[in-house]
C-alpha cells in the first residue's frame, strides 16, 4: 500500500475539495434563484410560458450531463459566430462552461421539484390569500414561495447531493476538483487504488455534511408539515 503518497498530496486534495465545494455552492445558489420564478411560470395560466419551461426541463433532464457538458465546452467552438463574439474569452474557459452547464442542468431538476410542490399546495391557502386581496406578487412572496420551499426540502436535499456528485464530471474537462486530483495522482504515481478511495471518502464526508444540513433545515422550517400523533 502507498498511503504515504496520499499523505504527501493531501494539500492537492484540500484544493480539490475546495473547488468541488465552490462548484457545488455556486451552481446551486444560481439555480435556486432562477428556479423559483421558473417554477411559478411552469404552473402559469399562460400556455406558451408553461410549455416553453416544460420543454426546457424535458431536454435538460432527458439527456446526460456529460453530453450537455461536452456540447457546451467543445461544441460551441464549432460556430464562428461564437468564437468571434465578445463572450468567447468566457466561453472558452473550462470553469465558466462547467458552471454554465451545471446551472442549466440543476435548474431544470430544481424547477420541476419546486413546481411539483407548488401543485400540491392546499387550494385553500391560495384562496385565502386572494380573499385577503393580496396582489399576485405579494401572494407569491408571502404564501406560494415559502410554502413551496418548505414542501420541497426533502427532494431538494436529494438534488443538492446529486449536484455535489455531478461536479465530479468537471474532471473530464481538465478541472482539478477532487476527482481530477485523484486522477492526476493515479496517473503520476502509477497507483490505482489509494487515490480513488481517498476521493470517494472525501465525497462521502461532503455528502454526509449536506444530508445533516438538510435534516436540520427540515427540522427547523418544515417541522409543521410533519404528522404528529
Amino acid at each position: 500500500m502507498n498511503w504515504d503518497i496520499i499523505a504527501e498530496n493531501l494539500g492537492f486534495y484540500a484544493q480539490g475539495a475546495k473547488l468541488t465545494v465552490i462548484l457545488t455552492v455556486v451552481s446551486l445558489a444560481i439555480s435556486f434563484v432562477v428556479a423559483m420564478p421558473l417554477a411559478l411560470g411552469r404552473n402559469s395560466h399562460n400556455a406558451f410560458l408553461r410549455n416553453a419551461i416544460a420543454l426546457y426541463t424535458l431536454v435538460f433532464r432527458g439527456t446526460p450531463l456529460l453530453v450537455q457538458l461536452f456540447l457546451i465546452y467543445y461544441g460551441l467552438a464549432q460556430f464562428d459566430l461564437v468564437r468571434e463574439s465578445l463572450l468567447w474569452p468566457w466561453l472558452s474557459s473550462a470553469l465558466v462552461c462547467v458552471i454554465l452547464t451545471f446551472v442549466l442542468n440543476t435548474t431544470a431538476y430544481t424547477t420541476e421539484i419546486f413546481a411539483g410542490s407548488l401543485r400540491h399546495l392546499p387550494v385553500g391557502e391560495i384562496e385565502a390569500a386572494r380573499a385577503y386581496g393580496m396582489s399576485p406578487f405579494t401572494r407569491a412572496r408571502r404564501i406560494l414561495l415559502p410554502a413551496m420551499l418548505t414542501r420541497s426540502l426533502t427532494l431538494y436535499g436529494n438534488e443538492t447531493v446529486m449536484m455535489l456528485h455531478a461536479t465530479s464530471l468537471a474532471s473530464t474537462v481538465t478541472l482539478l476538483e477532487v476527482t481530477g486530483v485523484a486522477r492526476n495522482i493515479a496517473l503520476n504515481h502509477y497507483i490505482m487504488f489509494e487515490p480513488y478511495v481517498t476521493a470517494a471518502a472525501i465525497y462521502l464526508v461532503l455528502t454526509l455534511v449536506l444530508v445533516l444540513l438538510f435534516q436540520f433545515a427540515q427540522h427547523r422550517w418544515a417541522g409543521y408539515l410533519q404528522a404528529r400523533l
Binding site: 446526460p64 456529460l66 461536452f70 485523484a182 480513488y196
Partner: protein
Amino acid sequence: MLGGYVVSVLAAGWITLSLAFVSLILAVVIGIAAALARLSRSRVLRVTATLYTSVVRGIPDLVMMLLVFYSLPALLSQAAQDWGYDVYIEFSPFGAGAATLGLIFGAYMAETFRGALMNIPKGQLEAAEAYGLGRFRIFWRILLPQMMRLALPGFTNNWLVLAKATALVSLLGLQDVMFRARGAAEATAKPFTFYLLAGGFYLAITAISLFILSRAAKRYELGVKELAR
C-alpha cells in the same frame, strides 16, 4: 461523409441499450435483495444493507466507476501476487460499467422497493400466512405484484437516470453512443452536431421509456382506482 459518422454513432445505440438493460437487471436483483434485507428480522442483514445503500449513494457515479474499473483490479492483482500467483487482473469496460451501474442503482432501487414493500397492508401478509402459504409464495404471489404498482414511479425515475448514466462508461473506453459521438466530433471538427445527435438519442430513450412506463402505470392502477371510488 457526415452520414457515415451519423450511422456509426447511432449503430452504437445497441451497445448503450444492452449496457443499460444488463445494468437494470443487476440493479433490480440487488435492489430486491437489499430491500428484503433491510426489512428482515436479522440485525446483521439490516445493518449490512443500510451500510451498502448509504455508502453507495454517498459516492459519485464517476468515482464509483473509476473505483471498480481501476482500483478493484489493482487490489485483486496485488492480492494475487501476494499469494504467489503472477497474474494481472483486468476488467472489460462493459463488465465494469454494468457492475458499477448495477451496484449504484441497486442501492436506489432498494430504497424504492423498501418504500413499496412498507406500503403493502400488513393484513394481507397475515392473511397469506393464515392460508398457510410458504415464504417464497407469499413473496411471489402477494408482495411482488403489489410492489410492482407501488414501486413503478420510483422505478421509472431510476431507469431514466440509469439510462443517462451509461454515457459515463464511454470514459472507460466502451464504444457506446457517447464514445462514437466523441470520435466523430474530433474527426469532422463538428463537435456541436455530434454531441447534439448523442443528446437526441438519449432524449429519445427518455421519451419512449416515459410513454411505455406511463401506460404500464395505468395498467397496474386499474383495480385500485375502482376501489378508491
